[in-house]
């Protein structure tokens, strides 16, 4: 096993040759499995030399020989330094401890922030669709915040939609660190709007990727292999919203073959974005209504694991939202409009039809309810605020 010397926090991440050569090996374009074979018995520098000479056991036909150029080492070193990325070789000190023994663990990880922050903590992956509904985004963000507050590391994929909502929730709670797993290189991550989120994550947790910095492109299979890392890192995988054939199901599959518990948030049977999650529930996934459900599931999962700190649920966070004490609407008309609202977003037209008032009266009542925080408008759709 290689004892890499990249700590993770240092501004000069690539001090030792092992890390430099490991990074260069990752640039050869081999799949994750082949890359592990390259590094199985040899150190990075030896493996590099053996490949260059065409003598590596894992490359009997010398396919990679032509690709081994010493300029590549300097090139990737510079790219890593430019984007402040440290190179973590499997088993080195900064490498996430619980990932080392996974049968598909990445041989090399490129990390921003401190990837070892998740050692010794319970971890939950929150995954889901990119085209989420306001319902899904809200639940993901609540789960992210609730879990982070309870000291759970939230792992997600930095994609748009559910991933972003979960991460934003977790970061907003200022609780446990959070971990992002990219499916692209650090400096070419898509979409660009995620760059800010990635920066925040790196300062309060870590962002890791298997793809060396400076590698362009984002083929679909990168995201599929990324999903196995999320599954391998998690004690529980929570699917928030997912279409019938959504990409999040790759994570579910990877979790299932590792024996990681899968939970799903139920959704409306009419919503296409919940078709995948509802199907998971039918197949026996644990239902998740709130943070409390995830925490009880987590409790069972980590009971047998030594050295994992127990989550600290906030007082009352496991309970269902309290009924009773419902606030009064500002006036009788507003009360009528409030009765016409529910948690599913509705267009103004629908609200008008449901409550049978004129457009002007309904609009006024909705504005009053919005001021009293009893109604919210998101993207032009009205609903009740989440309790």
């Amino acid at each position: 096993m290689i004892d890499g010397c990249a700590g993770g926090q240092g501004p000069e991440p690539l001090r030792c040759d092992d890390a430099r050569y490991a990074a260069a090996l990752a640039c050869l374009g081999a799949g994750p499995k082949r890359l592990r074979e390259f590094l199985d018995d040899l150190g990075p520098e030896e493996a590099w030399g053996a490949l260059g000479a065409g003598r590596h056991r894992a490359d009997p036909r010398g396919e990679y020989r032509a690709k081994v150029r010493d300029a590549l080492v300097d090139q990737v070193t510079r790219a890593c330094e430019m984007s402040r990325v440290s190179v973590l070789v499997r088993g080195s000190s900064g490498y996430p401890r619980d990932l080392v023994e996974d049968h598909e663990a990445p041989a090399v990880l490129f990390a921003r922030g401190d990837a070892s922050c998740c050692n010794g903590r319970s971890r939950v992956s929150i995954v889901g669709t990119r085209s989420a509904t306001p319902y899904g985004l809200g639940v993901a963000s609540e789960l992210g915040a609730g879990l982070a507050e309870a000291g759970v590391v939230v792992v997600s994929g930095l994609a748009a939609g559910i991933d972003t909502a979960a991460h934003s929730g977790a970061l907003g709670a200022r609780g446990a660190p959070a971990l992002g797993v990219l499916g692209t290189a650090h400096d070419t991550s898509r979409p660009r709007s995620q760059a800010f989120l990635a920066r925040d994550l790196a300062s309060h947790g870590a962002v890791v990727s298997e793809i060396p910095p400076g590698t362009a492109g984002s083929p679909a299979w990168w995201f599929v292999v990324r999903n196995r890392v999320m599954a391998a890192l998690a004690h529980v995988v929570v699917v928030v919203e997912c279409h019938a054939k959504g990409g999040a199901l790759h994570t579910v599959k990877a979790a299932a073959c590792r024996g990681v518990a899968v939970a799903a948030v139920p959704g409306s049977v009419r919503s296409a974005a919940s078709a995948g999650t509802n199907a998971l529930l039918v197949d026996g996934a644990a239902p998740v209504r709130d943070t409390g459900d995830v925490l009880s599931l987590l409790e069972l999962e980590i009971a047998a694991l030594p050295g994992i700190s127990r989550p600290q649920p906030r007082q009352g966070s496991g309970a269902r939202p309290r009924k009773g004490g419902r606030r009064q609407a500002p006036n009788p008309v507003a009360a009528k409009v409030l009765r016409a609202l529910d948690h599913d977003p509705a267009s103004l037209d629908t609200v008008v039809r449901r409550c049978g008032l004129s457009l002007g009266e309904t609009a006024l009542a909705l504005e009053q309810l919005a001021d009293a925080e009893q109604a919210v408008i998101e993207r032009g759709w009205w609903s009740r605020p989440r309790s």
Binding site: L348, D349, A363
Partner: protein, 505 residues
């Protein structure tokens, strides 16, 4: 001998007088030359004029003929000058006495058999020549008579025309243009449900606030938009003339013939180019769709499919009501005061407003909404989300309110606006908003809260007050604008949020 014949050519939506001078000389080789910056179409008229004269039984003079088109500095295009050239040749070759052409102007295209053919732009041409008798082809005499009254002389062929000029036979009878027979209008009672959409349409018609409809396919965007002309007040005589001019200049006939009664409605396909939309072109500066919808409605369906540059070319006409079309050789001001209705899907697949049904990637969605630049989006005072109507509404629902009732409220609101000295509330000057749109304390407080929370920008604030004024006028709520009207105006622009959020990702 020299003949000088009055005529005119089209430039934008206006006529420009042109004098066609023909000189017949005994000296030099026989021939026919046109000078004075003719374009290809005008040069071709030499052959048409020659054939038309010969087949109408006249002689083609065996002299050197020089035609000059004065003023010679401007380029002349189009087919209007065939007839004046033929008359000029007849006068110069002394086959027609000079006095017959005096005090008259001629406009028309010739066929090889001497027939007079219809030409585009007869309305502005007749208007500019109306200080004399204008001889035009019979087929467009009725249109010309709308602006030049009894001074129109019509003929259907060159031979008859010469006879009539010499007062041997009477001119063709000109049917004096009347107002067009009202065409059947689409009625709002066909629209089931869609309360917000109907209301937005009414507010748009009353205050001429530009309206954006956002909704999935099948939610009735086009259905609503096509019913807007039925809500607008009928055209006044001045407006009808302006519409006639623009349509005639584009070579189009107003549906029904005669003066248009209803505001025009234009719905160009999203493949339209910038020139097709704002006007331009090489032959003469042809008015575009914005000018054809002058005093009426321009409906842009599938707004997200129009190229961004084409949409942005609308910004200036929307602001000023006029398009300045400038080309290297010439420029023209074309009228373009129209009510803009845009319709678009919430995202490329169109299902974005149904929970979870949309599978567009963020990039596709951003690209789709980015077509609509911020400044153009700002011009839409009203933006409404539509959803597909309920099945019950379609099957058993009672018909909606007819257009007539809504049109009545609209015309009342227009009267209120006229009392403030403007045509409609969207034209209220910023300086008098405080005075003309007084707010109740509750309404002011509501607006202040929305301004503070960033829902409303400073520009949006002023636009919203005009909309609130229109709503108060429609409701006959009196001079002071209340909280309800303000809340309604806020609700009628909520779809903006959908597009703005998408555009930012």
């Amino acid at each position: 001998m020299i003949a000088s014949i009055s005529s005119a050519i089209l430039h934008g939506v206006e006529g420009r007088p042109v004098s066609v001078e023909v000189h017949a000389s005994e000296q030099g080789l026989p021939g026919f030359m046109i000078v004075g910056l003719p374009d290809a179409a005008v040069r071709e008229s030499r052959d048409r004029v020659r054939a038309a004269l010969l087949s109408s039984g006249f002689e083609w003079p065996q002299r050197r003929m020089t035609v000059n088109l004065a003023p010679s500095g401007i380029k002349k295009g189009g087919v209007w000058l065939d007839l004046p050239m033929a008359v000029g040749v007849l006068v110069a070759s002394e086959q027609l006495p000079v006095r017959c052409a005096n005090g008259k102007a001629f406009v028309g295209e010739l066929g090889l058999d001497g027939a007079l053919r219809q030409v585009p732009g007869i309305v502005p041409l007749a208007a500019v020549l109306s200080d004399r008798d204008v001889v035009v082809p019979s087929s467009c005499a009725a249109e010309a008579a709308l602006v030049a009254g009894g001074k129109i002389r019509a003929a259907s062929g060159l031979a008859e025309l010469v006879e009539a000029l010499q007062e041997r036979t009477p001119w063709d009878k000109v049917v004096h243009g009347e107002r067009a027979a009202p065409l059947p209008q689409l009625d709002l009672s066909d629209v089931r449900g869609q309360l917000a959409g109907r209301r937005a349409l009414e507010v748009a018609a009353a205050g001429e606030h530009h309206l954006l409809l956002v909704g999935p396919p099948g939610s009735g965007k086009t259905m609503l938009a096509t019913r807007l002309p039925g809500l607008l007040p009928p055209l006044g005589p001045k407006e009808a003339l302006e519409v006639m001019q623009a349509w005639s200049a584009a070579g189009l006939r107003v549906p029904g013939g005669g003066f248009p009664e209803r505001p025009p409605f234009r719905a160009p396909h999203h493949g339209a180019t910038e020139v097709a939309l704002v006007g331009g072109g090489t032959a003469w500066l042809r008015p575009g769709e914005v000018s054809l919808s002058h005093c009426g409605v321009l409906f842009l369906d599938e707004l997200g499919e129009f190229p961004a540059t084409v949409l942005d070319s609308l910004r200036q006409p929307l602001e000023e009501g006029v398009v300045h079309v400038s080309r290297a050789r010439s420029s023209a001001d074309l009228p373009a005061r129209f009510l803009l209705i845009g319709a678009m899907n919430p995202c490329p697949c169109g299902e974005g407003s149904v929970a979870g049904a949309c599978r567009c990637s963020d990039r596709d969605r951003a690209r789709y909404t980015r077509r609509l630049s911020g400044p153009l989006l700002d011009r839409f005072d009203l933006a409404v989300s539509l959803s597909r109507p309920d099945v019950e509404d379609l099957v058993t629902g009672s018909p909606g309110e007819p257009s007539e009732a809504a049109a009545e409220r609209v015309s009342f609101a227009r009267l209120e606006a006229a009392a403030r000295g403007v045509r409609c509330n969207s034209e209220l000057p910023m300086s008098s908003l405080e005075e003309l749109v007084p707010l109740t304390p509750e309404a002011a407080a509501l607006l202040e809260r929305r301004l503070r929370s960033g829902v409303l920008s400073a520009r949006g604030f002023h636009r919203l007050r005009r909309v609130a004024r229109t709503i108060a006028d429609l409701d006959r709520a009196g001079p002071v604008v209340g909280e309800r009207q303000v809340a309604e105006s806020l609700s009628l622009r909520e779809a903006r949020a959908t597009l703005l959020v998408e555009a930012r990702t």
